[in-house]
């Protein structure tokens, strides 16, 4: 049906978005690339000078860089695993007839509507505080030492918060996919004597593969730049144990006001994110006949 006229119309119609996005990408990106070759501290204006790759050298040889790269991957990977598995389980749960299913569904998806800052503040103070937090009370009433989250398991604490926020998103998409599962196919398998576990692995899971791909792709984009949760709770510490790439760039940009260094870090982050993206698309691309 692609006549020449409709192709032209298609071009014209998609052009505004593409141009807008292109400008949104290229203007800051261009400026950032330019800044990344300058010695440019916001606090010493007028002293900018061209210094070549020095900013990149400093960023890439900083031992904080590798630590934060590892933290970023662990954070994204763990949250993906938790939300996908949790999302499937919750999806299966909500797919059954339960008393008050509508309300239950509302409860489960609510975390998605909470601002990341609020999420972090509530978890840090009201729940995970080792002295007056709710979790500390549970531990002590069960006779355990309260877990000192932000000292002993800071990254885990961040992962839990972020996963809590994104679990509803995964659940929603996976639940929708589950509901579209062909009942006849399932019943036929049941007739043939397949147990619930083999039905899950041979029918349900393959049916979900596309939805899982979508969840992974969209979440990865957002998780690579997780920031508010870290800023509010641990400030990247103790040590570097919760510093991800986005937070490392933040320390350069808004603590050291080293625009040159932050720009170099930003460019490195973009390159890394795109490598991850290409990897992802390759790995799961066949599921995405976009």
């Amino acid at each position: 049906m692609s006549t020449r006229a409709s192709t032209l119309a298609g071009r014209v119609m998609s052009a505004p978005s593409i141009i807008a996005l292109f400008l949104w990408m290229i203007v800051p990106l261009g400026m950032t690339i330019y800044f990344s070759f300058l010695r440019y501290n916001l606090l010493t204006p007028g002293m900018e000078e061209w210094i070549g790759f020095v900013n990149y050298k400093f960023f890439l040889t900083d031992h904080a860089f590798f630590a934060s790269l590892a933290n970023t991957l662990v954070l994204v990977g763990s949250v993906l695993v938790i939300t996908v598995i949790g999302g499937i389980l919750l999806g299966l749960m909500l797919d059954q007839p339960i008393f008050g299913r509508g309300i239950l569904r509302i409860l489960v998806i609510s975390p998605f509507f909470i601002m990341p800052t609020v999420n972090a503040l509530v978890w840090k103070n009201l729940l995970m505080n080792p002295v007056s937090g709710f979790f500390a009370w549970i531990s002590t009433s069960l006779g355990f030492q309260p877990i000192d989250w932000f000292t002993n398991a800071p990254l885990t604490a961040i992962i839990i918060m972020v996963a809590w926020q994104w679990l509803p998103f995964a659940t929603l998409i996976l639940l929708t996919a589950l509901q579209s599962l062909d009942r006849d196919q399932k019943e036929a398998a049941q007739m043939d004597g397949a147990g619930p576990i083999s039905i899950f692995f041979y029918i349900t899971l393959p049916h979900l593969s596309r939805a899982i791909t979508v969840v992974i792709l969209i979440e990865t984009i957002f998780l690579l730049s997780v920031f508010a949760e870290i800023f509010v709770t641990t400030g990247g510490g103790p040590g570097l144990s919760t510093t991800n790439i986005a937070f490392l760039v933040y320390t350069q940009a808004l603590l050291q006001y080293d625009v040159g260094g932050a720009s170099a870090g930003g460019i490195v982050a973009v390159i890394l994110a795109n490598i991850v993206a290409i990897f992802l698309v390759r790995l799961i691309g066949k599921n995405l006949d976009a």
Binding site: S110, F113, L121, L217, S225, A269
Partner: protein, 277 residues
Amino acid sequence: MESKFKTPFGQFAYTVFAWIIGLAIFFPILWMVLTSFKSELDAVNMPPLFLDFNWTLENYTGILEQSNYFKFAMNSVILSFGSTFIGLIFAVTCAWAMAFNPTKRTKDTLLWMLSTKMMPPVGVLVPIYLVFRDWGLLDNRFGLIMVLFLMNLPIMVWMLYTYFKEIPKDILEAARMDGATLPKEIIFVLLPMAIPGIASTMLLNVILAWNEAFWTLNLTTSDAAPLTAFIASYSSPEGLFWAKLSAASTLAVAPILIVGWFSQKQLVRGLTFGAVK
């Protein structure tokens, strides 16, 4: 759907189990709301106080007296809905074109669009800030609407594209046979079928824009400041703050939470990203 449980007891146990899980996930929000009605000393009390404390509204009255909540909330509404409306205009046309007149490069274009979201915002803060300063867009609602619109545009195009693709092309062919022009085709044939997809795209973007906390905090001072800035004035002051913070948080998330609750069915129906065949 018929029950797969063999005994009523099995059904009962399962329901109880499911409710426990659901309440556990919801608990942090519940606890926040509960804490917002406590006095500061009760809020840090150990063991925690569940219902047996002096319920008080002093946190809420204090906050409403101290800051102009409605101005912040109004800005949040304007920013999130404004950016979503502009986004929809751009994204619907773009996704329509991509879905019905795909070219070889459509897939690459889509992935490129998504990749524009991968720059950590803090890395481009200074360039954007300088541009905004020079154009007089700092603390300006329009400027912020543009930022939020551009930030979420890739997701919108993607969502709508995958939704439009599910619409059978035969119908369009038939409409065209009947002599429908392009605009008519979109308004009378396509849009009605695409309403669920558009509605859930809209909702998702309102949520994302409402919760965006980096640009909205760094590019505003007062006139355009939304609820994220409101929260920033209650996190970690000197002195006990849990109860007040909880009340402020409750006020900040309540509007979007209620919108979300009422529209969750709509959200579910369209939130597929093409994941459902």
